[in-house]
């Protein structure tokens, strides 16, 4: 199998890698770029642990081929804190004990950030439906929803 050269921008950095056409963007992020923060929980787009943004749009990176990333802008969990400062969502997840095992956490954070960028004041129902594609088996979601609500409130106040 011949591999294809791909250049993309990940978290503001220009990157390049060689992708087998069968490899997903998630495989490429994890195995070729060493960005293991995005997780594979299902490989079928049902758990959201691999959530990233692709040209600003929230996607499951397990449902994107690495070769499709040519020329794209990708944001992953590794780029969420800026210059060492945690994003409010990251701080609130820790404060609210919104993670237990923490495996689904990167996906939740990336997905929740995408929500708050579109809707700074979501209702509980809007948060729950936006995040319905992110499975958490530990928390029962309660503290995750509260953390998102609290982060949204803080971000609105700060804006």
């Amino acid at each position: 199998m011949s591999r294809i050269h791909v250049t993309a921008n990940v978290n503001g950095d220009e990157v390049e890698f060689l992708a087998d056409p069968r490899e997903t963007l998630l495989d490429c992020l994890r195995d070729h770029l060493g960005l293991t923060g995005s997780k594979e929980g299902c490989g079928t787009g049902d758990c959201g642990a691999c959530s990233v943004t692709l040209n600003g749009r929230l996607v499951s990176s397990c449902l994107v081929l690495g070769v499709e990333a040519q020329g794209a802008e990708i944001a992953t969990i590794e780029g969420m804190a800026k210059d060492g400062d945690l994003h409010p969502l990251q701080r609130k997840f820790v404060e609210h004990a919104a993670l237990q095992c923490g495996f689904c956490t990167p996906g939740f954070l990336v997905a929740a950030k995408a929500l708050l960028e579109r809707n700074p004041d979501p209702t509980e129902t809007e948060i729950r439906f936006w995040l319905a594609g992110n499975l958490c088996r530990c928390t029962g979601y309660d503290k995750i929803i509260r953390a998102v609500q609290d982060a949204a409130a803080e971000m609105r106040g700060a804006a």
Binding site: R57, L58, E68, L115, W130
Partner: protein, 285 residues
């Protein structure tokens, strides 16, 4: 697996027509990649259509209809306010496909071509009377959406044929559509039953209607008897009861891991009634 990213549909058709093994087209990829990862289908040639100009566009046509490119994602569809105002049922069907993340990628055309009888976006398109433009080695043709599915996982497209766009007719005044599906959870499931209703009102009276049922037969059904049950009525209790019976009678489901035959028949009637009421409200007088 060879990956192709052609710049025109002509090029895509020529790659597909010349391919000898398994060929798949890639738009949103939310079905193709799942099949690839599970080992179910490993295409020899994968043809990415997203680099073709216009595939990401939603265009209003001169007659007031809409042309939707094959790479338009569910999220883009939902963000298009004028389209949502015209065809809320079509859009809500698409928006029920998968998660927010899947919405960022999944397309109407992909959902149609996957050939699932339970595809959430297809009943809405069928009820709307949407057409698809098909391009192949022998030229281009326009056909009704309901002519595409041929049974679970199958379409009527010939080898080398590609859908290049979906066209929605002009909506007109006093018209509305709605799609409802039943799933065991509140999100992330495949429809156990789906129903779309599109209708036009004149005052309180339903002038014309199209009703489509999903997941109750090998393909999405356009059910004339359901339309007849409400056309000419004010959608009163008797009409709704007739609609319910017609939907139940039309449903020919199987029992499987997602629901029993009896359940699907009963819920087909329930959803037809509920969707008709929403479409009727949306149509306004």
């Amino acid at each position: 697996m060879r990956y192709h990213a052609p710049a025109t549909f002509e090029e895509a058709v020529s790659i597909a027509a010349g391919a000898s093994g398994v060929t798949r087209f890639l738009a949103g990829g939310t079905d193709v990649l799942v099949q690839l990862r599970s080992g179910l289908v490993t295409p020899d040639d994968l043809i990415d259509l997203k680099k073709i100009p216009g595939t990401g566009d939603i265009t209003r046509l001169e007659d007031g209809g809409w042309r939707i490119g094959v790479a338009v994602s569910g999220a883009e569809l939902g963000a298009h306010q004028a389209l949502v105002a015209d065809w809320p049922g079509v859009v809500e069907g698409m928006e029920l496909v998968g998660s927010t993340q899947v919405q960022g990628r999944a397309t109407l055309t992909g959902n149609l071509c996957n050939g699932s009888p339970a595809a959430d976006s297809v009943p809405g398109l069928v009820a709307a009377g949407a057409n698809v433009t098909v391009q192949g080695p022998k030229g281009t043709r326009d056909i009704a959406v309901e002519a595409i599915p041929a049974g679970p996982g199958k379409t009527t497209l010939a080898p080398g044929e590609i859908i290049t766009a979906i066209t929605l007719p002009p909506r007109g005044k006093h018209a509305g559509d709605a799609y409802l599906r039943f799933i065991p959870r509140t999100e992330m499931d495949i429809a156990v039953v789906g129903c779309a209703v599109s209708l036009v009102r004149d005052g309180d009276r339903v002038v014309s209607a199209r009703v489509a049922l999903g997941a109750v037969a090998p393909t999405v059904l356009l059910v004339d008897a359901c339309a007849k049950a409400i056309e000419g009525t004010t959608l009163d209790e008797a009409a709704l009861a007739a609609l319910t019976r017609a939907a139940e009678a039309a449903a020919k489901p199987i029992s499987d891991k997602r629901g029993t035959k009896e359940f699907r028949i009963e819920v087909a009637g329930v959803l037809a009634r509920r969707a008709a009421v929403i479409a009727y409200e949306r149509a306004g007088k």
